[in-house]
Symmetry: C2
Amino acid sequence: MSKEPTVSTEAIDLPGLGALTVVDLAQPLTETTPTIQLPEPFANTPPFRLHEISRYDERGPVSYWNWFECGEHVGTHLDAPNHWVSGQGGRPVDEIPLRQLVAPAVVIDRTDEAAADPDYLLGLEDVRAFEAEHGPLPEGGWLLYRTGWSRYAQDQEQFLNADESGAHTPGIQAECARWLAEESGIIGIGVETVGTDAGQAFELDPVFPVHHYMHGAGKLGLTQLANLDRLPATGTTLAAAPLKIEGGSGSPTRVYGLLPR
Amino acid sequence: MSKEPTVSTEAIDLPGLGALTVVDLAQPLTETTPTIQLPEPFANTPPFRLHEISRYDERGPVSYWNWFECGEHVGTHLDAPNHWVSGQGGRPVDEIPLRQLVAPAVVIDRTDEAAADPDYLLGLEDVRAFEAEHGPLPEGGWLLYRTGWSRYAQDQEQFLNADESGAHTPGIQAECARWLAEESGIIGIGVETVGTDAGQAFELDPVFPVHHYMHGAGKLGLTQLANLDRLPATGTTLAAAPLKIEGGSGSPTRVYGLLPR
Ligand SMILES: [Mn+2]
Ligand SMILES: [Mn+2]
């Protein structure tokens, strides 16, 4: 079992930008980082594995270093449009415009609903209620969907919450996903769960509707986010930093929330 | 041969932060990304390798995704204090404070000198001359050392520039490295080359003086940076985003330069 994300908000004074709070939105990356498990016959991703090269020893007297195996979709990571068949021909992870990676973000909180029902699905009425209180979703920005699921992020079993019918984790209704992808101005959806779709999303129509509609519209996903409870409903700048894997479908990603003080 | 970094500066309007230019300082990550080669008997890092899991086919009809092998010190990457024996017991990459990862940066340009002499070593007099013109190095910030070497960043042979006497790439004199580590207020050094030390640094005293002194002082390194020519001498905010590899000695890292407009 990996350690919890450390306390991660600090005041930082930057020339020309003033004082910021930086919130670390990424989970630690370890051999126990929860990893998605698809049913047969789908191929699965290997988890994160670390291999020591030297540790101040005969293999390298002055240095300690490792190499690692990792899936593009392991741990806190970004889904590029070309990850899904509906986005085939769309942008790979190394070609995502910087204006989509450093962009405004809002947070919709459905922690109570997901605690009461692990299969809770966000609906269009939830988005409408948010907009009535906080104004429209940010044009060119991110919708971060807080469910409290990050409390399970260090434990594969609790995080996937699977039984004989598959995983039970919160997600988004198909019609809401379609509206967010095709009618709203957001360019990405970020979640605390192992993927942007619900654990039971293989039962929805279309299957995996967030992936289907968002990537089909050239939009992005971010998963396994931490510390969403540290962000206000509006006013965060998200800085997502995927590796530039050439032609890749995604990447493990460090993510910061920047808050002017 | 990998493609060049794409044009990567854009004006982005952010709530509370105003208009920023974001400069992408990371190189693409591919199977041809240049990787350090140490002489016998040192163990070397494997390069980046990409493995397809499915591509809209029988292995996964709706998705395309990969897994990969990568060294912590491959491509644009961060060196944590525990990477070096002088920093043994120091911070691993997942515990670096956010105030060091999002911090001011200045750029010293020695492109002409490195073009004339690939073994050029930055000296204390270069730093003094910079400070006389631009003011002191930033307390808690980064020194970015521009050498023009990023022009070779897509080609292993040109980038390492090795002959029978080893690699020939620019670096920093031992006494200058000591001063930057022990007497200046900076917390990290960023370079365009494969490592923070010169290609011939195994001949210096101490060997690999930038690693020795900087990590011994708990400070950081950043390598294989791109687009340093897009940054002003002062006024950049660096945002370095290593993966949170628990206990790791470094990580491939996306890096942004944020410039208020
Ligand atoms: Mn994914
Ligand atoms: Mn290194």
